[in-house]
Amino acid sequence: MKAYLTRRYWFSASHRLHNDSMSAEENRAVYGKCNNPHGHGHNYALEVTVSGQVDQRTGMICNLLDLDSFVNEKILERFGHQNLNILAEFQEIVPTTENLCVEIFEVLKKDFHHAHVDKVRIEETMLNSFEYAGGGAIRY
């Protein structure tokens, strides 16, 4: 039987929304307060959804220890307490939470093989959230 498991994690990071190919005025107009050159931070809540057949022997889609250790090592340690703008991932793209969502989904999709990776959802604040399923439909 196929089920979906979602695990929630937290990390804190700073970013500045700025695009070098826009003028200073344009950057201010598009990004507003988020264009502050010194950056600002968020406590991001990250939700990772995986799916698969529930293994009859373990009762699990995948072992949570495998998911937790992957996310800790490849995502939380990579992005936690960092300035996202200085990371290699965001040299060509603006570290909006849309782009962060896509980036984290791709990291999981590429190297997490214990279950099917369905979706990444990030709450930037309690009022904003973003979801990416690699172009697939998002199921509610």
């Binding site: 089920a3 979906y4 498991l5 009762g59 889609i61 072992n63 509610y140």
Partner: protein
């Protein structure tokens, strides 16, 4: 089509153990959850049903009835129970959150005749939940 979700809470204990595994395997696969004395969680259950809105009542489902079915089929059976020992669904199945969602789905599906069951979501903690849509 309108979707309606009703929540309920229950607290229960469980442990993870497969008698076909060696003690070492059980420990390696299930870790702390293998403690035979069990440990507990405050579970939150979300049941989502879907259907057309009835023109006369304005309801997708009679919430009173849904509430009663959830109480009778799930809460009364599982609240303040040791799932491995006191709930027959888990006599031969490990009471993981995945299996709990599947078990709750099958308890509710046959009892709901007013609206169609869409999703069962079980939160084991606020940071971990499983969704089951009745898929094979």
């Amino acid at each position: 089509m309108v979707y309606l979700t009703r929540k309920a809470e229950f607290s229960a204990s469980h442990y993870y153990h497969n008698p076909e595994f060696t003690p070492e395997e059980n420990q390696r696969i299930f870790g702390k959850c293998n403690n035979p004395h069990g440990h507990g969680h405050n579970y939150t259950l979300e049941v989502t049903v879907k259907g057309q809105v009835d023109q006369r009542s304005g309801f997708v489902v009679d919430l009173k009835e849904l509430k009663e079915i959830m109480k009778r089929e799930v809460i009364d059976a599982m609240d303040h129970r040791f799932l491995n020992k006191e709930v027959t669904d888990f006599k031969d199945r490990i009471p993981t959150t995945e299996n709990l969602a599947i078990s709750i789905w099958s308890r509710l599906r046959t009892k709901l005749n007013l609206a169609e069951l869409h999703r069962v979501r079980v939160y084991e903690t606020p940071d971990l939940f499983v969704d089951y849509y009745g898929e094979a």
